[in-house]
């Protein structure tokens, strides 16, 4: 089961085409705990049964939300280079490659509250045809 995450909030700069980002390994224990927690959630308080009857008014009365205990996120493994096969799968659009980054991206950090300054906007070789965003 894959649940790999890469965390790159502060590294918004042009990168080489094909850079895959940091691969993060979720330990088997953490993954099992997550799945067990999700199974517990659906067994003891599934959305199907949590959506119970309530009186219309200022508030809907529902059973307390049962949250699973999630295992802590494992520390990311170092960045690995893309394989030759990855490049062959890339779309064939010819543009000038941006300059290579001078340092490898930092490994992903565990989730935590941070104050986030606005990063420099990334530059792309051409304008998109459309933009995906939350419904508006």
């Amino acid at each position: 089961m894959r649940a790999t995450m890469t965390e790159t909030k502060h590294n918004r700069k042009p990168a080489q085409k094909g850079a895959p980002g940091v691969k993060q390994l979720i330990s088997a224990t953490a993954l099992a705990a997550t799945l067990t927690g999700w199974a517990l959630l659906t067994a003891t308080q599934p959305a199907d049964q949590a959506a119970t009857t309530a009186v219309v008014g200022s508030q809907i009365n529902v059973p307390p939300l049962v949250m699973p205990t999630l295992a802590p996120v494992a520390t990311a493994a170092p960045l690995s280079l893309p394989t030759a096969g990855t490049a062959a799968e890339r779309p064939q659009i010819v543009v000038q490659a941006p300059p290579a980054p001078t340092a490898a991206p930092a490994p992903a950090q565990p989730l935590r509250q941070v104050v986030v300054p606005a990063p420099p906007a990334p530059s792309f070789p051409f304008a998109p045809v459309a933009r995906t965003r939350s419904s508006r």
């Binding site: 894959r2 995450m5 009186v55 200022s58 986030v116 939350s134 508006r136």
Partner: protein, 311 residues
């Protein structure tokens, strides 16, 4: 490339058709009328829509049109497959949270007061109460259960437009940020699509190259308002009956269809980052990017294969 942009279903709709024959142009011009017809069926904000009539029918079997039947079937199936996370039976919860009117672009977060009634019918948020009779194509809703199809209709509509226009040429449909493509462009290149940054509206996080399927984003960064002292948004967690309270600010999913992407993105937002990515991993040919409320960006393993630039 021909393109049309208009407002429908409370969103901005853009359709790009990579063809310039007179028939293609005529078909493109008809798209706003298609959406208008679908809104007359699916909109909960119209008291005369077929859906609103169904929502007033509780306790009686009501025959429905083929299109309403199709979308309700899709919604019920999605609810079953997601263990109820993505559900059509949340209209009372949406209204209780204050989402009682269609959203207007750039409207400031407004004061909304929950409806107050000393007593009223008991409501149900359990989609399993919906009964479907395929022989008579009729729907039965128990008293207290009402349907909202807002989480399904845009993706469904985008897929419909792609299906109808694809015979004229390559087509992309952007229904309020939920995007479907028929295939590569006429020059065989994928469509470049920006993933907007929910933390900084004028900026983008990634540029993805989409040659098939769809991409959708579910977020609590835009459709939000204030209810008393509490800020609310439109993604209801069926387990609590309230707007989802997780660490995910927005979830973007690439999937074999935009409807599948829309459903998976919503489920991932409701579940939270860790459980959400685990859930996406169980879905074939789905990949996700999550933006957390602390600004962190998480991508799953397969996401990079769709990117032009990964930062």
């Amino acid at each position: 490339m021909q393109q049309t942009t208009f407002r429908a279903m409370g969103s901005t709709i853009m359709v790009a058709l990579d063809a310039d024959t007179p028939r293609a142009i005529a078909a493109l011009a008809a798209v706003p009328d298609w959406f208008a017809g679908w809104e007359r069926i699916f909109s909960r904000f119209r008291t005369d829509s077929e859906l609103s009539r169904l929502n007033r029918s509780h306790g009686r079997w009501m025959p429905v049109s083929q299109l309403l039947w199709e979308l309700i079937e899709i919604a019920v199936t999605a609810a079953r497959q997601s263990h109820g996370l993505v559900s059509p039976a949340l209209l009372p919860a949406l209204e209780a949270a204050g989402y009682t009117k269609s959203f207007i672009p750039d409207q400031p977060v407004a004061e909304v007061h929950p409806s107050k009634s000393a007593s009223g019918p008991r409501v149900s948020l359990d989609y399993r109460g919906i009964r479907l009779n395929s022989h008579s194509r009729a729907v039965w809703l128990p008293p207290g259960l009402r349907i909202d199809l807002g989480g399904f209709a845009k993706g469904w509509a985008a897929d419909q437009v792609v299906r109808r226009l694809a015979r004229f040429g390559p087509v992309l449909v952007d229904a309020g940020g939920d995007i479907a493509v028929s295939g590569p462009r006429a020059d065989d290149s994928p469509w470049p699509i920006a993933v907007d940054d929910p933390c900084h509206r004028s900026e983008q996080i990634d540029l993805i190259m989409l040659g098939e399927g769809g991409v959708a984003t579910s977020g609590r960064d835009y459709r939000r308002w204030r209810q008393g002292d509490v800020e609310r948004h439109h993604i209801i967690d069926p387990r609590s009956g309230a707007p989802a309270n997780t660490d995910v600010l927005s979830a973007t999913v690439i999937a074999p269809s935009v409807l599948a992407a829309e459903l998976a993105a919503k489920a991932a937002l409701i579940l939270g980052s860790q459980a959400g990515l685990d859930y996406i991993a169980t879905l074939e040919n789905h990949t996700a990017l999550l933006v957390l409320d602390n600004g962190q960006v998480l991508r799953d393993e397969a996401w990079a294969a769709h990117c032009w630039v990964t930062v």
